[in-house]
Amino acid sequence: MLNSSFVPVYLSNEDFLANGAAPAAERAEYVRMWAEFTKLNKGTGNVRVYILAPDGTAFDTLGIGSALMTERLAPFLASCASRLRVQPGDAVVPPKPQPAAPAHGPDSLALHLVARGFRKGSWREFPAENWIVLSRDEQLGWLPPAAARAGFTWTLDPRLSRKILTYFYPQTEDPDSTDRNQFLEQSLQLRALSPAMARIDGQLLMKRSFYPGRADLTLIRARLIGFVRIDPRRRTIADLQLVTHQAFFGEEEFGVAAARHGSGRE
């Protein structure tokens, strides 16, 4: 019904904070929408469904508690569509994967990361995903010296490993993108297997609160394994894959995998 009768859009409140990413025109519409729904007096809230009529005016709204229940959301949407005399049809916007890979230059490398806790229940209905883009210079930091032979070992610059490992935690409550990890120990050791391949072994010891702003930090313990395929001629990374070999968030086991976008696993 969302595709056939509505124009769906999701908005992260974080983008509309003072330092948020929303452009001025988007902010103006967001403020106007809030003002109209406040005046409509059917309820407002940060996490909520709002329906705008085709002319853009505030029409109806549904609290998140009800919106999470199909038996309440479906009749609400049907009622809105009926009252607005919507003629159902094809989706106005073609569906596409969310989140899409971020735009990045031809010399950059985009890694797609998937993290999932292995217990059941809230926050475990679907995995978390992140995109990490490595610049040309950052990729060079992953490579051995050009003359390195098989068996050569090196440790990755902690700034580079942190850029990836900071996402090595399962789903937690993340109302914004603030990095609240406390790194205790992190290391990624590489060993050249050939001029075009290196093995990665590593470990991570990090603390993170499940909820933001809380003092009860959970210990993250992880052993990591992966590989880098190197293009020796261009001195770039042809593929990079890094996964948890075994990892725990407190007592809960979790898994994280980061791999080059387009490495064939999608």
Partner: protein, 92 residues
């Protein structure tokens, strides 16, 4: 003992001195010969399943401004979902 010394001491006992002290797992080693197969298998196994990506089945407008313009042209209402964090990545 000064109060700050107590805090430092507490910090030392609360934070494991090393990964080994903290009980970082020590799983069965993977040989070089099996490395790629092991890592790729794991990376694929943890990808979101189709039932975990129902959000991809919805044609989302890229912004509120765009949604309102598309609504005006198509005479459809706009479904706006406001949320904290990033619902598209599951970090929310």
């Amino acid at each position: 003992m000064k109060k700050c010394s107590w805090i430092a001491w507490l910090g030392l006992v609360a934070v494991p001195a090393s990964a080994a002290d903290a009980g970082v797992p020590n799983p069965k080693p993977v040989s070089d010969a099996k490395l790629v197969e092991f890592v790729e298998r794991q990376a694929v196994a943890w990808l979101p399943a189709s039932h975990e990506k129902r959000i991809d089945e919805i044609g989302w407008a890229p912004s509120l401004v765009a949604a309102k313009e598309l609504a005006r042209r198509s005479q459809r209402p706009v479904f706006v979902f406001t949320h904290d964090g990033r619902v598209s990545t599951g970090r929310c």
